[in-house]
Symmetry: C4
Subunit: 190 residues, 4 copies
């Protein structure tokens, strides 16, 4: 089975997710600069989520470069990842509209489930391709995923100590991933 | 006529359908965990519909693999399927917002019309390709479609006995289809 | 310049237009069948517009089959068509929510501008390809476009006599076009 | 790394941006022509933004024609451009709903940031391709970008003198760019 349509469909879904998030930036009431002030938490949470969705797109883009084929399991693992990503607009708005209150910041930790879903997708692809393939060599060490999941899971309870610790952890993970997943880039270059 | 653009257009429409459903998950009012509680029926109906739309996408993806060409009839049969699928976000929200009340659960049985539209599309493609082609051999027995339509049609009146019977039937059909349509996969492997 | 991305972009925009129209079908208040009754005008106008957008997509799909290349003028003529098509969700909802009142039915005649934009696109492509090409032979007689524009323009004032005359004319034009533009199909077959 | 998916993803995002802007054209209340009157500022701002997003799509379309490859930096520069473009629906609605009041017109000057992001993308692609390539020759003189940024930046404070000066400047820049970026067209023809 070819990977072309899986890429196209995922690109479509991610393009929509990243764009409809902006619909939560409600048009301000009033035509003064002061009308913009209440928007900053929504705007900041939009920026953070835009970067996160961008990171997922970049990594999927690189990962599928070394993918040779897909099967039913991979299709569902991919849809599973898209499902959790599709919740980003809601959790983003929840966090932004409540000015980074502890519970919404904890709920934003749904990111841990996106990361887990990404990991499952990697496992399914690995199983399909076998060891000793470009894909297997590329995924080799998956420290970044493991660190991310640990940090996300830590962020969820820490929000009840102080929510800014959790926000800082989310920003930290984004920074770790900001550089696209070099493993696949390196493998492509070979 | 090539099938490429039909695939691309269908992928686009399905990607949008699957993503705008999440817009019905309204951002909760309040920043407490208790604010999330009223969301669970909407969330569950979203999960069910996400799986359904995912199933349709998977099956279309596999089916078009064995398709050689399309004509005007196929284009309209495909649009007809997309039309009924496009109603999924509304029926999903109707069911979720009313906490799986009998009438909305019956209306969700519009799935029967999606299944019928899928069947019409298969017939149109079969007619175009003729018997004794990879496509014809792949569709051969269409037990799953027939069982699904029967279960959907049964689910609609049964909701007035007890709506959870109908919900159970919807979940059952989803489980039947969760495995992608193996007929096409098998044909592709040959 | 290749036509691939113009097709892909147009497919994307049309896929979104056809799908967001359904957002105007608001989730009914109440969980009784009677709650669905007020939806019928919105639903009917959605069906009509879905068919119209489907017709445009089909015709563009067939037309671009015989297209060899595009230039800046074609890109803008295409965007111009997409602009008028993008107004379909609003005019559809305006007509449906007001139960086919005369003014909204007249405004729905914006379809005349979609038809005019389609005609301009054909002219731009014709100019680029020159006579004596597959494209020129395919467009040859453009009776359907001319009849459509005349009927749309007639429909606009006639709504003030009786809006159902106009609605009947819209349905009539849709029926005329329901069969995909055979000119291009015929040319493709040659 | 291939450019195909970057093009496809950007096309998807831009197609969504250009289409969801129309969601800000709220369905008028009332079924009289007078109900349409309050829509004109929203409509005019929609037309202007549709043209702007169309210009960006056209220029990206032409630019990527001479692009040979992309890397991580280009992916992020492209996402950065898409981020600022994604704010167009909000700033458009803000300007339209407030009838081109000075502050919203100034905020619409976020266009300066889109232009800057476009410039950064050109720089990243230039660095990747090196001088003495089709891409480098195509971008050669970048007078249009520089003029645009100057005019946008001038428009922001001038809105407090008279907002129509700023609107006129936005229209002027759109007219300058209306002709697709000939540099890439010329290079493609060679």
């Amino acid at each position: 089975m070819g990977k072309g349509r899986v890429e196209a469909f995922s690109d479509g879904v991610i393009a929509i997710i990243i764009t409809i998030m902006v619909l939560e930036l409600k048009v301000p009431h009033g035509a003064e600069f002061s009308a913009l002030a209440p928007l900053w938490p929504t705007f900041l949470s939009y920026v953070l989520s835009f970067i996160y969705v961008g990171i997922y797109w970049n990594n999927l883009h690189n990962m599928f470069h070394t993918v040779q084929r897909v099967d039913g399991r991979v299709l569902w693992a991919n849809l599973h990842l898209l499902f959790w990503l599709s919740l980003m607009p809601v959790t983003t708005a929840f966090m932004g509209e409540n000015h980074f209150a502890p519970v919404p910041v904890a709920v934003y930790g749904v990111l841990a489930l996106c990361a887990a879903a990404y990991f499952i997708l990697v496992v399914m692809l690995h199983r399909l391709h076998g060891n000793d393939t470009a894909f297997a060599r590329a995924v080799g060490a998956d420290r970044k995923e493991k660190i991310s999941v640990v940090l996300y899971i830590a962020a969820i309870p820490l929000t009840f100590v102080n929510q800014w610790i959790s926000v800082a952890l989310y920003v930290l993970v984004a920074m770790i991933w900001f550089v696209p997943d070099r493993r696949f880039e390196r493998q492509i270059e070979k």
